[in-house]
């Protein structure tokens, strides 16, 4: 259940583009055609799925306060979290390079479709943002970190796919000249973000109200019981 919740939450509610504006640069620059947008989106899912769990391991076993305890009790006091930026970005840059080499060797077809996007991705804020949010939201287990990487990648993919489809069509509309290109893309993204906000109540909306109602009912019950006790006490006193 935890997994399902995180999955839908990262795709729809905390969507990387619409809720936190991560990876906007490539989102705006590479969304002119659907085909290229799909390529970049797939590459982002792929790289996030590798780097987020890897950086989770790094965070748990090296960077966090007390994370070095596995080396021995004398290391338990170290807190290396100030190094996390440089460690995360180094991991991402090397992993991207490594993935590029491996993909080129074993799957030339995939390399031809993803290859040109991979170098772009090392400096995509969505990738570093994935790791940094993973750290600041304190994701608990390796499985959840993997889930978080994949699902936020899917969210980013959805966003770039939809904006690319809209931009292909908007070519035929009569946009005011100063808004053409970049301006209208910003405004459409804003409107899409407002649309995505409606997913906000998807996971928590109903439950909370029910819970508060139940609590008040219980409180009333307790009050009633106390009242009846008091009345009973009073009656017994009077009888005495």
């Amino acid at each position: 259940m935890e997994h399902v919740e995180l999955f839908f939450k990262s795709i729809f509610i905390d969507n990387m583009v619409f809720a936190t504006f991560l990876g906007m640069c490539s989102y705006l620059a590479v969304s002119k055609k659907v085909a290229t947008a799909v390529g970049l989106g797939a590459a982002v899912i792929f790289v996030l799925a590798i780097t987020v769990p890897l950086n989770w391991l790094l965070d748990q076993f090296i960077l966090q306060e007390g994370a070095l305890a596995w080396l021995g009790p004398e290391f338990a006091a170290y807190d290396l979290s100030f190094l996390s930026f440089i460690m995360f970005i180094a991991t991402i840059a090397t992993m991207v390079q490594l993935v590029e080499i491996v993909v080129e060797k074993f799957s030339p077809a995939l390399y031809n479709s993803l290859g040109i996007f991979l170098p772009l991705i090392a400096v995509n804020c969505a990738i570093l943002g994935g790791s940094l949010f993973m750290q600041s939201r304190e994701i608990a287990t390796f499985g959840l970190a993997l889930n978080y990487g994949v699902s936020s990648g899917i969210g980013w993919f959805l966003a770039i796919l939809s904006i690319a489809a809209i931009r292909e069509k908007i070519r035929y509309s009569n946009v005011p000249p100063p808004l053409r290109g970049l301006g209208i893309t910003f405004i459409i993204t804003g409107l899409m973000a407002i649309g995505f906000m409606s997913f906000g109540g998807m996971l928590t909306g109903g439950d909370e109200e029910v819970k508060t109602e139940q609590k008040t009912v219980e409180l009333e019950k307790q009050d009633d019981e106390e009242d009846t006790k008091k009345i009973a006490d009073n009656l017994s006193k009077i009888a005495d």
Partner: protein, 215 residues
């Protein structure tokens, strides 16, 4: 200008308007949008980026002839990451509350495309002084947009500037609230940042028609 030649001052002034990194070059959008709900955060972010870009451009320009071009991305990332760690630690030491609010976005300066973009486009091919000016200029251009967006979002969204109420008290109904004005809480939400930047682009391109794109 006595200190700067005309060519040098162009490096600083161009990015402020006609070659603005956000509205024209489309670089560094992520952080520009996420932290602009308050003017204070925008100003701190702008100052951080000015520091990182100025120093970063100088460092890259100094070592530009000894970086092997194959690994230059990693070298650049290391330089930026080091500078950002300095900014982050200073913020944590002197303004812990603000550093909590900005959270991961300080770290995201590392992948701010303005920085990598200017390293690649300018600092790798130019001298130290010119690179420094280019860095400061572009960071200022970025900061200007950030502050404009932050100004409007905070003013219209919560009726304050830097946290001080400027439009009166919404609860006691003083100032403009007395005649029925209400804060637009929607301005504080993420999507409005995009729309405000869209409007800034619209205004800028209406004033300077040479910038208009054909789709």
């Amino acid at each position: 200008m006595g200190l700067l030649s005309r060519k040098d001052s162009k490096l600083i002034l161009d990015p402020l308007a006609d070659d603005n990194p956000i509205t024209i070059q489309v670089l560094g959008i992520c952080s520009a949008l996420a932290i602009t709900a308050q003017l204070k955060a925008s100003v701190v972010m702008a100052i951080s980026v000015i520091f990182v870009m100025g120093v970063g451009n100088v460092v890259i320009s100094l070592i530009r002839n000894i970086i092997p071009s194959k690994i230059r991305i990693i070298v650049q990332l290391t330089v930026v990451a080091t500078l950002v760690i300095i900014v982050d630690q200073v913020l944590k030491a002197y303004s812990y509350q603000l550093s909590k609010e900005l959270g991961a976005f300080i770290g995201l300066i590392i992948t701010n495309c303005i920085i990598m973009g200017r390293f690649e486009a300018f600092a790798l091919g130019n001298g130290v002084w010119r690179s420094f000016l280019d860095g400061i200029g572009n960071a200022l251009g970025y900061g200007v947009i950030l502050i404009i967006v932050g100004f409007f979002r905070e003013l219209l969204g919560s009726g304050t500037l830097f946290g001080f109420p400027v439009l009166g008290d919404p609860i006691a109904k003083t100032g403009v609230y007395a005649i029925g004005y209400e804060n637009n809480g929607f301005m504080l939400l993420a999507p409005m940042a995009l729309i405000v930047v869209g409007i800034i682009i619209w205004v800028q391109r209406s004033r300077n028609t040479a910038l208009i794109e054909d789709h």
